[in-house]
Symmetry: C2
Subunit: 980 residues, 2 copies
Amino acid sequence: MHLTGVRNRKTQTLPHTPWHRLRQAQKNKHNVDSRFGSVTFSITSLPVHLTVSPAAERLRYILGDDEDTMPTPTLFTEMDTLQQEDDELEWRESARWVKFEEKVEEGGERWSKPHVSTLSLHSLFELRTCLQTGTVLLDLEGYSLPQIIGQDKISFVLLRKHRHQTKKPIHRSLADLGKSGSGVSECSIFISPSIPTHTSRSMNDIADTPSTDQLKNKFMKKIPRDAEASNVLVGEVDFLEKPFVAFVRLSQATTLGGLTEVPVPTRFLFVLLEPPGKAKSYNEIGRAIATLMVDDLFSDVAYKARDREDLIAGIDEFLDEVIVLPPGEWDPKIRIEPPKKIPSADQRKSVFSLNELGQMNGTAGGGGPVSEDEEMFCGGLFLDIKRKLPWYLSDIYEGFHIQSISVVLFIYLGCITNAITFGGLLGDATDNYQGVMESFLGTALAGTVFCLFSGQPLIILSSMGPILIFEKLLYEFSKNNGIDYMELRLWIGIHSCVQCLFLVATDASYIIKYMTRFTEEGFSSLISFIFISDAIKKMVGTFKYYPINIDFKPDYVTAYKCECLAPDTSKSILGIEHVSFEMLNITALDWTQLSKKECVKYGGSLVGKSCKYVPDLALMSFILFFGTYTMTVTLKKFKFSRYFPTKLRKLISDFSIFMSIMTFVGLDMLIGLETPKLIVPTEFKPTRADRGWFVMPFGKNPWWVYLASSVPALLVTILIFMDQQISAVIVNRKENKLKKGCGYHLDLLWVGFLMVACSFMGLPWYVAATVISIAHIDSLKMESESSAPGEQPQFLGVREQRLTGILVFVLTGVSIFLAPILQFIPMPVLYGVFLYMGVASLSGIQFWDRIKLIMMPAKHQPDFSYLRQVPLRRVHLFTLVQIVCLAVLWILKSTFLAIIFPIMILGLMVIRKMLDMVFSQHDLAWLDDILPEKEKKKKEDEKKNTKKDKKKGKGGDDSEDVSVLVARLFKERHRLLGFK
Amino acid sequence: MHLTGVRNRKTQTLPHTPWHRLRQAQKNKHNVDSRFGSVTFSITSLPVHLTVSPAAERLRYILGDDEDTMPTPTLFTEMDTLQQEDDELEWRESARWVKFEEKVEEGGERWSKPHVSTLSLHSLFELRTCLQTGTVLLDLEGYSLPQIIGQDKISFVLLRKHRHQTKKPIHRSLADLGKSGSGVSECSIFISPSIPTHTSRSMNDIADTPSTDQLKNKFMKKIPRDAEASNVLVGEVDFLEKPFVAFVRLSQATTLGGLTEVPVPTRFLFVLLEPPGKAKSYNEIGRAIATLMVDDLFSDVAYKARDREDLIAGIDEFLDEVIVLPPGEWDPKIRIEPPKKIPSADQRKSVFSLNELGQMNGTAGGGGPVSEDEEMFCGGLFLDIKRKLPWYLSDIYEGFHIQSISVVLFIYLGCITNAITFGGLLGDATDNYQGVMESFLGTALAGTVFCLFSGQPLIILSSMGPILIFEKLLYEFSKNNGIDYMELRLWIGIHSCVQCLFLVATDASYIIKYMTRFTEEGFSSLISFIFISDAIKKMVGTFKYYPINIDFKPDYVTAYKCECLAPDTSKSILGIEHVSFEMLNITALDWTQLSKKECVKYGGSLVGKSCKYVPDLALMSFILFFGTYTMTVTLKKFKFSRYFPTKLRKLISDFSIFMSIMTFVGLDMLIGLETPKLIVPTEFKPTRADRGWFVMPFGKNPWWVYLASSVPALLVTILIFMDQQISAVIVNRKENKLKKGCGYHLDLLWVGFLMVACSFMGLPWYVAATVISIAHIDSLKMESESSAPGEQPQFLGVREQRLTGILVFVLTGVSIFLAPILQFIPMPVLYGVFLYMGVASLSGIQFWDRIKLIMMPAKHQPDFSYLRQVPLRRVHLFTLVQIVCLAVLWILKSTFLAIIFPIMILGLMVIRKMLDMVFSQHDLAWLDDILPEKEKKKKEDEKKNTKKDKKKGKGGDDSEDVSVLVARLFKERHRLLGFK
């Protein structure tokens, strides 16, 4: 039990030396059986930051020099322990690692959930000692392995059969049910006969043919294709007096029969056989080496190690990086779930290879580099086309995916609901010059064309509130002044298009650089609130449209009726009793048979307590509305539940809206009440009979109108420009990880073209719809299939394609023929979908997160990165400013100023500019983005700071952070917006 | 950078030596500035399991010997770092520890959430070196501290003012808003003038008067009363060439002015001043010592250490126990939330004090020891009384708590709803011999008495379904055979009571030993399902009671009416036109004015399309029903949300049912529809006028009836016994952590007594109601107020008292006077509460968890301990057996066999017995409890196994586990049931 500071420095790397001889040598040399009793070592290599320890130097030597060699394969590690089964020894799989540990539950006969391997420091040190004193065989030839396993008890033990834990339990007879705990499935093969004869039968005999069990193992899917296996074998044997340790690296990865549960060739073998008594402690050593083998850095070391010392340096580096939890604050029995994100091993590796450091600052993802100084006429437009054209083919074929079906149905329903609502209102506003039919046709036409040719086909076009108000004012103006509305409108469209083209040519979309998160989120929150409030307003409207008789007493049902009485004229006839007796009879009969509408139509009066009321429909509508919303939310969340396999859950989540709509359409049909239904036009003709499908540009108005219309056109242009570009900014947000780049100029070009086209056909005008576009993007999000067990699926980006959009609008176009199906959908169900869209587009907005923070006590707040950096009251102040802005906008929107609503967004941008005076750039960098003018100044500041820092050699953390952050943020933003 | 294995073994513990002199000595001795550059040490003391290392021996010596000394105080640790603020140095608080770490967010100026301190192994080793080479002053006299701080730069630095992070931000002027990131509040005091003069002003000057800021600090509440502080001071100073390290333990804890943020006297000081350049690394050393100081074991060591070596032994012990996370599997930046449960430090300590080991197997909690072999007449009863009597006083005063109000309201509403439903049904069954009035009176009487005197006052008495069926059959039998029902019933009651007393006297409640989890959960699930199905049935009933006119077309409202037509007799009168003209007029007028009921009453016929239908009420009822349920569930969950302070959340959660009821009663009043309301009797008289409040035992029936009634009484007795005892078993479940013990015999005694009393007064009979009792217990659950930040509140047990029960039943009694209030409560709201009760009583049942498991893929299943031990298919098989049992019971319950329903529970017990043949005792021990007969056999097995194990020295893990587990489980169960 004595402590020695002596360290065994002999390098024992003797490749191609027969194993048993080495073992013999080892036996002779270490003849103290207390070697494992007290752990004796001295850690000499934990490097202090920025200084190089000998271990680090070693690693730098073996890892850093070979730039051009292949990356090392991923290692799959399996740990088997020696078990006694009916007086026969066998190796039983006890744990495995792809990246995280999966343990075989002792009694449960199943795999545990993947978890972070919690090791004891003790076992790591013991492992270190093992490698220092045990056998290390590097680059052993695979085929020589069978030869070197001699006539020896150890080789007998090593050749015991292997039992693996499979996911599926073996089918067993009912007679078996009475027995317990013995159901480990056998999917192993016999490597050697079960009688301990001195056999020279080699592992290699069966090496080339993996067993069918191995091949059938579904776990293979979780292991990368190029993976190699490392096998850890730990066992107690009674014939040994001291532990036998061997670390073997084969020169070629070889399939060693049933050694591994999957047909992955083995590259490493770690064998630890020990005298009985301390199985637990030895198991821990096995877990330690297994964990090390799957460590990115150590596995590199293991592949490239030249000798024992290299391995030990690898352990030392590992030890230097480990994270230590104090025993009093954590229970080692708790299995730690794998984290959402793991720091890349590259950073650890980069310390050892100097030439990798430069690559850290490269650009990641994005729509290709944009030359920053290109200035020419239509420069932006050409760049947009240049950027988007190469993707065009993939824009089509990437749309073929099951997810698309759900997306199309969801967005389609949103679009036609919008088209119907908007068409109805527009019809009211323009005396049906533009009605539901025009709305449908316009949506279909504009949408299809835009999705086919635009720069950002994920944007969904739709009609907007401000346009509606504009049309209303314009129609009233024309009517009052005797000007032909349709012709005037056509000319406004033409002027507007020209103005748009001018904006495209001059690259005016540059302005959106000033739309920071503040503006974006303010705008999209406002639109979301409008969506939500509209959905609720419509629901409340149902209660007004179908009033409930609150005073109804079931017992006095006899008192409720509604009779249609003939108009007063009949009363006068009543005076002449005799003459009109027959006539009265007949008339009376007629009147009572009339429906409510007919009665009113023929001038009759409705008398009775129940005339004003409609039973059940309002409440039923509410149930449909609320039910659709709630079910959609619940099903969306279902993805995170524990039930059912992941794929099924994802499907349910993807189709949540469709399933909710179907359910409540079904419920509505089942109950059979006459709830308000979706009615689409069924005939292809203009809503108003006196207009055709084409508006003539000349003839009806005086010549000056053609010129004067350029003034209102300017307002329309600004409206459209702001609305279009801000929605596009939101869609192109960097959080969405779009890969195919953006096309602000191209988008605007097509919006302008479509405007003229719509004006000629007398259809409404269309711009990007914020909420529906967000819904479109959200439902197209992709996640990685998790690879290693326990690894979290990562958000990969959005399925960027044109197919879903095109399909949505083609479907909208043919909705006229779908009327027999669509008429079953109750409107309240669609309002529920609207409510969901509004609420869903709020989530994921930082502004909304910050509003929630206000209601949370500091200690419960989530660990947002900006909360670590910005004082809470500054965060709240920023939120408050946004809330006030929104409130003001909301009030303005409710007045006639709604027509210039998108222009008010400019106001938001001005306020954002003013915030520069209230908040420091540091705070703004965390809460918002930095405005571009600051760039130059900041860059200078940055330089100054850096100099100052270097001179001072300390402190100045904050200012440095800011400038770097600012520069980084601005660069990122610049690149993403795709501007020169 | 060279490595030395040499270890400095000189003990430098020189108490009462002036600090600066020591520092000087240190300076001279260690003159290598690279001392920190490479960490050099040899860990020699990591003890292997069960062997004693020198470090462990040291610890055993200092920790193990003093049995009678006081336990060491809890340590609060604060870490301050030296910061430059406007060219002036100051100490700024950077983190603190009560148990977990709370960090001052750099930019956020706030405390982070408490988290597990993740240390780097590196910093721990560096700390070890610091303690090996630095100054260690143990038991320094507090008052001498000012004197020993001499005229020296270091003392100047140490005396800089201290800034602490307070939770509340200081109010600052608006002019301040423009500045950023500088808002650290000042709640410190100046220890020395800000100009670096050579001052001898001591810390002690202000030591006795903690500043008001300190006293006002609310954080004080989180620190135990007896706590002492340890202060860690880490800073960079440019006048030092090598680090200055000092670990000081004061002989008496002293308040050192503004050193600590809270007025806690300081006992330990750790100072680390170092030359500039490696602030981060030194901060990590500070965090390491701070974490060590709050470690239970190390703080003991720190208090009792005799010299430097003891401290180092403490670190070594700590290192040996740490948990290591591999760098590739975890991101050190993730703050690990404190675990729900931390292993007790006692186990770690017990290794070092031998005489504590024996205490590990003591009994915890429970209703006191029950002598196992006491056998006498009424033995169980006397034991029950003996056990419960001492608690009687606390049973009353422990009821005074805000939680009780909510509980009383909740359970009261449950009880009266039950009383009304049951009373109505019973009235129908017995021609109102027992009606709603009797039900109320009986509930009040039986409940109050039971809660006052029973053994388990948490049980709520109520009427039960099987009793209802029995009464119905009995009434029909009496009516058909001319026997007086009330008298017969009285005699059955008397016989049943006698039989109950016999059961009490013979300690028959012993049988419930055979009610394992299998039976318990089967029974309570079934009752819960009945509750849920009843609630839904009643809701569906509303749709039948208020039928919706599905064919209603709003436009044809004119076609809907309901007229009351006079009966045919008037038709004949109509024949005599002349005579009856006036009469007809009058009659006709009358008929149309009649209400539906009146019309039917006077023989009129209702004609019209709307007669059969009632608008809106059904749907409104559904909204109320579903809304109440959903809101209750949502509010209950609100406890786990992040919003609002914990106390408010808890209040909302506690009052969730009350708030939901109020909300939907309010909504109902607001809308004003005539939904079905709760109507309670308002006059105190028997429902049937021809019966009084007392039933005479003799006179109406022949004599043999008095004797013969003992036969049906037997059925009633079994009914009552089973129902009562199984509910009691569920209430006394060990998961509920009841401390005042149980009283099965006493309970049964009072149920018997109450039966006679109720029979004499002609009131229904009462037994324990499973679902309401579970709801009672659940809403009385207590959780610990979390003490140290980050520690999870623990479930402490149930507020065991008689007050809530008594109040519920007194309120039930006076409900007659509460009728004006109660009449506002719609029945659907109460059905919603019923649904909630049923669903809530299902949760927390293992059976229910296992049903959910069936739908989960193995990898998503929660980490239940039985899943680690029992193969999944065995678990599923067990669940399946239970499901089949329940299905059979459910079918039987729906037939006339419902009357013997509780007896069927015996069937469950038989099936459970049979499961012994299908499942191994190991599996059953994990999934269920072990049946008592097995005890002896198992004990023998256990002995055998132990012997075998010892002989073999290995293996046999499973069998040992089982027998120990079986023995433990049985012991536990035995004790909890309180039987001899």
